[in-house]
Amino acid sequence: MSETRIVSGNFAAAYGAKLSRVEVVAAYPITPQTEVVEKIAELVADGEMDAEYIKVESEHSAMAACIAASNTGARAYTASSAHGLALMHEMLMWAAGARLPVVMTNINRAMGPPWSVWADHHDTLAQKGTGQMQFFCENNQEVLDSVIMAFKICEDEEIMLPAMVVEDAFILSHTKEPVEIYDQELVDDFLPPYDPDYKIDVDQPLGFGSLGMPDWYMDFRYKKAQAFEKTPEKIQEVNKEFKEVFGRDPGGLIEEYKTDGVDVLIVTMGSISSTSKDVIDELRDEGHNVGLARLRTFRPFPVEQFREITKGVNVVGVLDRNYTFGHGGDAAREIKDALYGHRDLILKDYIVGLGGRDLTPKILKKVMLDAISLQDKGLDKEIEWVDLRADRKKWRG
């Protein structure tokens, strides 16, 4: 029987891994991810979870162990955060290049310095080029759902790629919410055992990860690129199936909230989305024609979907909980990329909530009102940092 428990985002991730019947977990602890792997260690020690739990000396080794396990045909899982994820960088690329469906949870946390343990998407987005799919979750239920879904998407024979399911530090990782923990049989029907055609087997030896000479390297990469291009369709397909089986829609590539015929579209990612939806309701009650798009997958980036939902839109206000030096907010940049040559509209990038800075409904409303005001006054600046101490009056007054 499925049961609803009050659990943190971290426990939701651990239960997602348990329900997915992962066979190998290799991890190194880091705040705020520690609870994920602590919970898994406990479940394994108590015999509730039938998995090999490998303690390793670093995050780089954690992903290396998952890669090796996946190569033997085992379902492998790990979790990390921020600096741990950065240390894993090389192996994230390897998992993708080797076409191994390792799934991990990353707790979005700011990169130092200044040293911080709070919510920020820069750690995850800095890995956007590694070949991992990236699922940004809005709540704890979605964390559990996305881990199960990710394995199904990743292990599809046309895909065979790794994925990161990500949740915001503390706001989700350490906050408890009701989460439905599904019946194991239901999950087993949805997610069959992992059984790749090629794997490490002493009786049928194969070599993995050989040298690719210049004559062939590009062709291999092209083949991998083609697999990645199939991910948007596959995610939507699995999302549909998930909805049919579990009665819940995790959101596919992009979740649209009251976007029909809007003049102003607000874009969010992760946990600020639910607060933002409340603010959208308030603004609509006040007569503003505004809606929200929650970007759920940053990789693959929903290019087609953005072109579709911005039809007839005058202003797009993007709330980026991340900032890359010399580049700006990642979501705004990618949306501009997607819309180039397709839409003539105003797009403003709001840098918000870095390093866990609180985003209250009041601040979010000011941001959205600023976006709405651009319809009349035009674009004032391309990028604006919100709620800096120097101009708090503007955002909090």
Binding site: A98, L206, G207, F208, G209, D215, F220
Partner: protein, 105 residues
């Protein structure tokens, strides 16, 4: 065997990406065929009289290129030995000498 044939033995004669496996997967034992001992500039020479067959060199060789056989002592596989000298360094009775490879070719 050329490098290219070695990589693609799992699919015979690939023409382009459509023939390739999803990633670089090769028929084993590809590395047994691609003999890499030619990189060596020093050659370990085992003195059978001194060798006590303790197996330490076998344990330390990073390239799995030593076998210790009863009655024969340590036997080096020169098709793969890289001449790193770790075995000579670790041998407790100094039964292994590193000599110039050039003297042997």
């Amino acid at each position: 065997m050329s490098e290219e044939e070695d990589i693609f033995r799992i699919v015979k004669d690939p023409k382009d990406h459509t023939d390739l496996p999803r990633t670089e997967i090769t028929d084993c034992p590809s590395h047994l065929m691609n003999k890499t001992g030619s990189w060596r500039t020093l050659r370990p020479i085992v003195d059978k009289e001194k060798c006590i067959e303790c197996g330490i060199c076998w344990k330390f060789c990073p390239d799995v290129s030593i076998e210790v056989k009863e009655g024969e002592g340590a036997v080096v596989d020169y098709d793969f030995c890289k001449g790193c000298g770790i075995c000579a360094k670790e041998c407790p009775v100094d039964a292994i000498d590193m000599e110039k490879e050039a003297d042997y070719v």
